[in-house]
């Protein structure tokens, strides 16, 4: 079974976000990019499954321009076998459903039997693309998984169900699994891994190569339109309480009750 890993590059989590002058996105000139943190769990799980004999090949799928190849190389250095990068001017401005159509076509074309993805990308934060891929391919899914077992044609996954509850779910492969923190401890690339990655193939595919109608993806096909981006309102200046522990504790409780009215 071939395992596909959806990998995306996102601004590092310590990035200070600034909105561009047209309020249509962020300024990216001094952004440091990294592999989406949740995708690292997906990649690690795929590598471990292959090492355990549950997979034959680990293939990275990235929807992104040539700049994202640095992150793809990092993924190859950690142990993925090869990568497919999806790039076409027609893809620009795709909403989550458009992105899912592109990825689903590529996953199907490569004969993938299990897809691992991060639970969400920490930029757009929708977490919707993997479930959409599952629907488009008619596959099973489990999201926000922190334990995964593959036995034959069946998966068993522990998923966050909300309210602190976890559900153990089972289903048949092929499936799309989204990975949460706690699933594993992602490895770093080693020097031999980095050297080996230089020779691993990254194939670039456009809409024609994927056999998808360019009109079904991109900005024109997007059903969700982002009107304007803004920064959250600044918080009003707070108050520093002074005094010994007993005094500040009593004063704080009084303020929470009488001024803020939250207790």
């Amino acid at each position: 079974m071939k395992i596909g890993v959806c990998l995306k590059q996102v601004p590092a989590t310590d990035t200070r976000i600034r909105v561009n002058p047209t309020n249509t996105g962020i300024l990216t000139d001094d952004v440091k990019w990294e592999i989406n943190p949740y995708d690292e769990y997906a990649l690690e799980e795929a590598i471990r499954l292959k090492q355990a004999g549950k997979g034959t090949e680990v293939v990275i799928f990235t929807l992104g321009d040539v700049a994202s190849e640095a992150r793809i190389r990092d993924g190859l250095a950690r142990g993925a076998d090869r990568a497919v990068r999806l790039d076409d001017p027609a893809f620009a401005g795709s909403d989550a459903l458009g992105k899912a159509r592109i990825l689903a076509a590529a996953l199907q074309q490569e004969g993938i039997g299990l897809v691992l993805a991060g639970r969400q990308s920490v930029d757009t934060d929708t977490g919707a693309v993997p479930a959409m891929i599952a629907e488009l391919l008619g596959w099973r899914q489990a999201s926000w998984v922190d334990k995964l077992v593959i036995e034959g044609e069946t998966f068993t996954a522990h998923r966050a169900a909300g309210g602190g509850t976890r559900e153990v779910v089972t289903g048949q492969l092929p499936a799309v699994i989204t990975c949460d923190k706690g699933l594993n401890e992602p490895r770093y690339a080693t020097l031999p891994g980095i050297m080996a990655a230089k020779k691993k193939p990254i194939v670039v595919k456009n809409a024609a190569a994927l056999g998808i109608d360019a009109g079904s993806v991109g900005a024109a096909a997007a059903l969700v339109v982002e009107e304007a981006m803004s920064l959250p309102p600044a918080r009003p200046a707070g108050r520093i309480l002074q005094g010994d522990a007993a005094t500040v504790a009593a004063e704080l409780v009084r303020l929470l009750r009488e001024e803020a009215k939250v207790i």
Binding site: Y38, D125, T126, S143, L223, V225, A250, L256
Partner: protein, 324 residues
């Protein structure tokens, strides 16, 4: 065109969740602005008729073995049937473990645009505008949906629950035509959390600890008792989780849980950007830290510069007294 809204009301243990009332309140406002109607859909056993008093004119109820615990395939199919029956052009659900899977599937199945984790919805010129955080709340984006049906999930605690407007609903049994093929992913076991505290994402009060707690023992001895005294859910910074003071499920921040409580008490948390991203929408933030220069103080409603090992026990005592 009138905005007809269908609200997916989730239940837990046969009871309607609080989020159902938050959503119905907002749906009633939005529908009223355009002369539309509000309907609701409920799975399994719950007091469906009571939703009439909260503004729903029709409540669709799906019942049967597929509607006890969550089954992705069956639930998506039933939601699809409810949309068709109600003629809704807007569907609202709470951002939850169910909707994070079911709504994207529904979106792909019926070609409906989806905006997840909204923190506000407003009517503007006959259309709905959803506002949602991106980059873990470091920025906000306003979105409109172009398709005939628009799907939205809303983060818990985004809307206050007012008084029930009153009214009655007709309850309609929903026949979604569920077959064995729809029972695609089955829940074989439910693992309840060890604590009885409300989950962080739904909590109204949170007490979080950071690396300054220095050990798991002092985290357990300081943060958890204070959380209990405040009737709050304990949380932790990434640094505290990575150091092993608290499990990853307790992590607040960009790679943990994004929270939205009325009260957030940060103990020994400096306020790294990725932590602030996860809790900055808290209504009141209390920061207790010995470093007066810590970034968390720029976000704090109330700040205390000092030793958390002295202040937290004093605060625990005062809160216990106040909330007794």
């Amino acid at each position: 065109m009138p905005t007809n809204i269908l609200v997916f009301c989730e239940t837990e243990g046969g009871q309607l969740r609080k989020s159902a009332f938050e959503l119905l309140g907002k749906a009633t406002q939005l529908a009223a602005a355009t002369g539309g109607k509000v309907s609701a859909v409920v799975f399994g056993d719950a007091d469906a008729a009571s939703l009439g008093a909260w503004g729903a004119s029709t409540v669709y109820v799906a019942s049967g073995p597929a509607f006890g615990t969550y089954v992705a395939g069956a639930w998506v199919k039933a939601l699809q049937a409810a949309i068709a029956s109600s003629g809704a052009n807007v569907v609202l659900g709470s951002a939850s473990g169910v909707t994070r899977e079911a709504f994207p599937r529904l979106s792909a199945r019926i070609g409906a645009g989806l905006s997840v984790e909204c923190t506000d919805l407003r009517a503007e010129g006959g259309a709905i505008v959803g506002r949602r955080p991106v980059y873990a709340g470091k920025a906000l984006v306003d979105v409109k949906i172009k398709s005939a049906v628009g799907l939205y999930t809303v983060r818990p605690n985004s809307f206050t629950i007012g008084a029930a407007p009153g009214g009655s609903a007709s309850v309609v049994a929903l026949d979604a035509g569920i077959t064995d093929a729809d029972l695609d992913v089955k829940v074989v076991e439910t693992l309840k959390p060890a604590t009885q505290a409300v989950d962080l994402t739904e909590a109204d009060r949170i007490v979080s600890g950071g690396r300054s707690l220095k050990s798991k023992e002092s985290f357990d001895a300081i943060v958890r008792p204070l959380a209990k005294a405040a009737h709050a859910t304990p949380g932790a910074s990434r640094a505290a989780v990575d150091a092993g003071y608290a499990p990853h499920g307790d992590q607040v921040g960009q790679t943990g849980k994004v929270v939205n409580p009325s009260l957030y008490i940060a103990l020994g948390i400096s306020g790294a950007i990725q932590h602030l991203a996860g809790m900055r929408t808290s209504r009141v933030i209390v920061a207790i830290n010995k470093d007066a220069e810590a970034p968390i103080f720029q976000y704090a409603t109330y700040g205390i510069v000092g030793d958390l090992f002295e202040i937290a026990p004093a605060l625990e005592k005062e809160l216990t007294k106040a909330l007794a």
